[in-house]
Symmetry: C2
Subunit: 160 residues, 2 copies
Amino acid sequence: MHLKLREPLRDLAECSLPAALEAMGERWSFLILRAAFNGLHHFEEFQSELGIARNILANRLARLVEHGILMREAMHDDRRKIEYRLTEKGAALLPTMVALRQWGERWETGVAATPVLVDERDRRPIRQVEVHAWDGRVLRKGDMVWSLPEDIAGDVDAAE
Amino acid sequence: MHLKLREPLRDLAECSLPAALEAMGERWSFLILRAAFNGLHHFEEFQSELGIARNILANRLARLVEHGILMREAMHDDRRKIEYRLTEKGAALLPTMVALRQWGERWETGVAATPVLVDERDRRPIRQVEVHAWDGRVLRKGDMVWSLPEDIAGDVDAAE
């Protein structure tokens, strides 16, 4: 084990986070993304719901499309109408978005936001998003270490 | 059930996300936070590891302290030395940070980053961060709906 091992903090090119951050880290991009998760699809909807200037909205939508997070497509019934939908890559931001929302509820506002996210089948509130070990144990900051791939214990595939 | 229910998208004051976003959404703030999760504590460490200008670093550290994400304290053995440590609130950003890293690995770089995050006990890679229903089912975007607190099924406390 490498006790002093850590992420290459300076080498931003190798790190995958800044790309994700550029995609959703900017205030308006984030709010558009959140609106997309809430089922908004059209320029006019985003514009009126978010109260965002048209030029900023157009710019941010274009960037989210460029990043492959939203896709832009003509509607079936009226080809002049354009829809923006989350791609698979965009939809995969769900755990991040939910984790951030729960953090805000707990630490910023101190109260559960309304409305509440529930699972559709049972209509019960979702769990807190947490980090889990391969066997399901909840992990805190001190429960994790960095490891080189060659130092990983056992059969990694079997841990899936 | 309110099928058309969704978050109040426009009312930013009521929403808990922008505060979280302001705290970590800015590029340098995020990199400092990531470095703090990697065990960096001192101004000089952040400065040399991140290659960040001293005035920007001082500004961002002050903001993270102001947001209650880092705390600033004098070291026991040398009171002139200052340490920056994650508060409980800051440490609670772990699931968000890990979810974002995993998203970047999967969708931006396409490969697992090195080093790998493992649990300290078993040295096995952590699981993907996901959203779970009260009973542990993994939930995707289409599996969740918004609900008013009074419409939530059953005994909420029993679901914990």
